[in-house]
Symmetry: C2
C-alpha cells in the first residue's frame, strides 16, 4: 500500500527516550506520564518489533487509517500495567466488524501517555504510525480531536480492556455521546482501556491531522536533553523549539484540587519571583492546564498550551503531581491553527470546558498561520 | 421454520390486561410496573401487529431464539417513555453482527415490565415469543437467568437506547462482566435501554427456560380479576394459582429504603394483625423482596418468591411504592426447581445478593419437583 516505504522512519531507543520528554511537555499537565509507555515501547523494540513513522505526505488518499489511544484515568495505568495487546485486539475486532484491513495507525493525542500507545500497537500489527495526531497536545475527552471536529464520525469503535472484554460502540448519535458511553464503560472495566476508532481515509488524515507531531515531540525531547547535557537552560530550549514564552516564574503557594466526575479540577496559585516578583499567577485545571491568569486577569486560554515545568530540571509537572512549594515556570505555546477555528473553539475552546465567561484570544505575539479550513 | 404454526396463541387485549396483573405479582417487588408496557403492547395490537406465543414444546431444536428485555431502572421508563423500536434495533443489529435470522424471541424476566418488552419487539419483527422465561419472577441483574446459569454465554449482545445509540458487547469474559459493563453503559444512556443477547438454540431454550411463563402469568392475572369480579379474596386466588401461602398480614410500621449503586435497598417492618397479631414480620429488599423474617427468624429466602400485596385489592406493591401505614399481605411462593439447584443458588440464592450468613432452605411445605439438571 505504501508508495514510498524507503521514507519510513524507524525509531530507536534514543528516539523513545526523547519522545517521553517531549510528549510529557505537550501534555500541558494532562495525558499522564509517558514513562510506562516508554518502557513498553522499548520492550517491543527489544523483542524485535519495529516502531516506524510514516510522513504524513506519503499517506495515499485511499489508505485506511485507524486512530487509537488509551482511554481512562492516566494514574490507573501506573498502578495496573496494561496486558499489552489491548490495542491490537481493538484493531483486529474493528477490521472484522467492518471488513477492511488497516494500512496505518494514527495517534489521537501526542501529549502524555497516548503518544506511545499507537507506536506499540502498530509495531505489533506490523504497521507504521502516521506522523501527526488529533490534538497537538492533550485534551481530556474523545470528541476533542481535529478528526472529530472536522467531520470524522468515530463509530463504530472498539474498546478492549486488559481482562479480555471487547465492546463495540457501533453507532453513536454524536461524538459527545460516544465519549459519554465509552467513559462510563471504561470505568466499569477498571478505569484504563484502549479504544480504536472507525477508519479514516488517508486524504482526510493528511488534511486534518496536526502535522508532524512525532517529529516535533521527539525533537523537543532531544532539545531538552541536549540543553541538560550542556548545562544550559532546558526551559529556554522548549520555548525556542515550540515558539513559546515564559509567562510566569514562581512558587506554588496554594493549591485547590478535587476529583470530580473522574476529572482532576482545581487551581494552582503561583507567587512570582525573579522577573515576576510581585505578581501572582494562577492556573485553572481540568486534567489539563486550561487558563492562566495574572493578578486576576486572563492572559492565556485553552486551546493554547499552558505548560508547567520544574524550574530547575525543565521536567513537565502533571496536574496530579503539583505540590505546595514547587518552584515552577509557566510557559505559553500557541496552539496549531486547526484548533483555533470557530468550529474547533466550540469544542476545545474555553466553552468546551465550561468557562462560558472567558473568550479565547490567541496569545499575544503568537504567529498563527492561516487555518486551512474556513 | 415453525413446525406447528396452528399452535401459536395470539393474544388479545384482555390477555394483556391479565398479563399486567400477573407480571406485577411475579415481580416480587421489583421489575417495575408493567403498566406502560401494557399500553405499548395494546397500541401495537391496535396498529394491527400480532402478539403471538409459541408453546415451548413446539420450538425446533435448531431454532435461533433471541432473549431480550429492558435494562436499567424501572422507574425511569415511567418518566421517559421508550422510543418504541429499541428492541427491534437490537435484534436487527445482532442479526447483522452474527449473520443469522432470529426465529423467535424469548423473555428474560416474566416479573414486572420485562414481560411486555419481548411481546412488543416480537410483534414488530413478525416473530412469536416463546412461552417461557429465564427467571420465573424478577431479579435485578442480567446474569441471574436460567439461560446464563445453565451455560449460555450472552455475548455478543446489543444494547439500544431511545436516542439511537447502539452498543455491542462483543465479548465479555463472564456473565458478571457483561452485567457490569452493560449496567455502566445504560446509566450513561439515561438509565433505561433495551438489550438483546446472543441467540440460543431451540433445544437449549426448551431445556432451560422456566416453562409456560406467559400462560401462567396470564392465568394468574385472570384469576385475580375473576376473584375481584365475584367479590372474593384475590389473595386467596393468587395462593391457589401459584401454590403459595400467606406468611404474614399486617401494617407497615417502619421502612428503611436507600438508593445504593442504582439499587433500592432496605427493610420493611410489618406489625402483624388478624391471624398474625403479636408477631412482627420484616422483608429485606434489594430491588426485589429477598428475605422474610418473623420476629428475627428467617422464614423465606430468595429465590423463593416473596410477594407483598395490598390486603384489600390484591395489587402487587413494588419496593419503591412501599409506604408507612400500608396494610399488606406477604405471600411466599416456591421458586421453580431450575432456580434451586446448587449452581443456580450460587447466582440467585442469598449469597448472590450478599447475604452470606443466610442459607437457602426451600419453603416449608413446598413441593419441589426434581430439577431436570444435576
Amino acid at each position: 500500500m505504501l508508495t514510498r516505504p524507503d521514507r519510513l522512519w524507524t525509531l530507536g531507543e534514543e528516539d523513545i527516550e526523547a519522545l517521553e520528554i517531549g510528549a510529557a511537555i505537550l501534555g500541558t499537565g494532562g495525558g499522564g506520564s509517558p514513562y510506562i509507555g516508554k518502557l513498553r515501547a522499548r520492550q517491543a523494540l527489544r523483542e524485535g518489533n519495529k516502531l516506524r513513522i510514516l510522513p504524513l505526505e506519503d499517506l495515499p488518499d485511499d489508505a485506511k487509517v485507524v486512530a487509537l489511544g488509551g482511554i481512562g484515568a492516566p494514574l490507573i495505568s501506573h498502578e495496573r500495567i496494561k496486558e499489552g495487546r489491548e490495542g491490537l485486539r481493538c484493531v483486529r475486532a474493528l477490521e472484522e466488524r467492518l471488513g477492511f484491513k488497516a494500512d496505518a495507525i494514527a495517534c489521537e493525542e501526542i501529549g502524555g501517555q497516548n503518544a506511545m500507545e499507537p507506536l506499540i500497537t502498530a509495531s505489533l500489527a506490523g504497521l507504521p504510525v502516521v506522523d501527526g495526531d488529533g490534538m497537538g497536545r492533550a485534551f481530556p475527552e474523545m470528541q476533542m480531536t481535529t478528526y472529530s471536529i472536522y467531520g470524522h464520525r468515530s463509530t463504530p469503535s472498539v474498546m478492549c480492556d486488559p481482562h479480555g472484554n471487547v465492546v463495540i460502540f457501533d453507532h453513536a448519535i454524536s461524538e459527545t455521546w460516544h465519549e459519554r458511553m465509552a467513559r462510563a464503560c471504561v470505568v466499569a472495566q477498571g478505569g484504563a482501556s484502549t479504544l480504536a476508532s472507525a477508519p479514516m481515509s488517508g486524504a482526510f488524515v493528511r488534511r486534518f491531522s496536526i502535522p508532524n507531531s512525532y517529529t516535533k515531540a521527539i525533537a523537543l525531547g532531544r532539545a531538552v536533553r541536549e540543553a541538560r547535557r550542556r548545562h544550559e537552560d532546558p526551559i529556554a530550549a522548549v520555548c525556542e523549539k515550540e515558539n513559546g514564552r515564559v509567562v510566569h516564574t514562581g512558587k506554588i503557594v496554594d493549591l485547590k484540587r478535587h476529583l470530580r466526575g473522574g476529572f482532576v479540577t482545581g487551581e494552582a496559585l503561583i507567587e512570582g519571583f525573579d522577573a515576576h516578583q510581585g505578581s501572582r499567577g494562577s492556573v485553572l485545571i481540568q486534567n489539563e492546564n486550561l487558563v492562566f491568569k495574572r493578578d486576576g486577569t486572563v492572559e492565556v486560554v485553552v486551546p493554547d498550551l499552558i505548560i508547567i515545568l520544574d524550574i530547575d530540571s525543565g521536567n513537565a509537572i502533571t496536574t496530579e503531581m503539583l505540590r505546595y512549594g514547587q518552584r515552577v515556570a509557566v510557559l505559553a505555546v500557541p496552539c496549531h491553527p486547526l484548533l483555533a477555528t470557530p468550529e474547533a473553539l466550540e469544542v476545545v475552546g474555553p466553552k468546551g470546558f465550561g468557562f462560558h465567561d472567558i473568550v479565547y484570544r490567541p496569545m499575544a505575539g503568537a504567529q498563527h498561520e492561516e487555518a486551512p479550513v474556513s
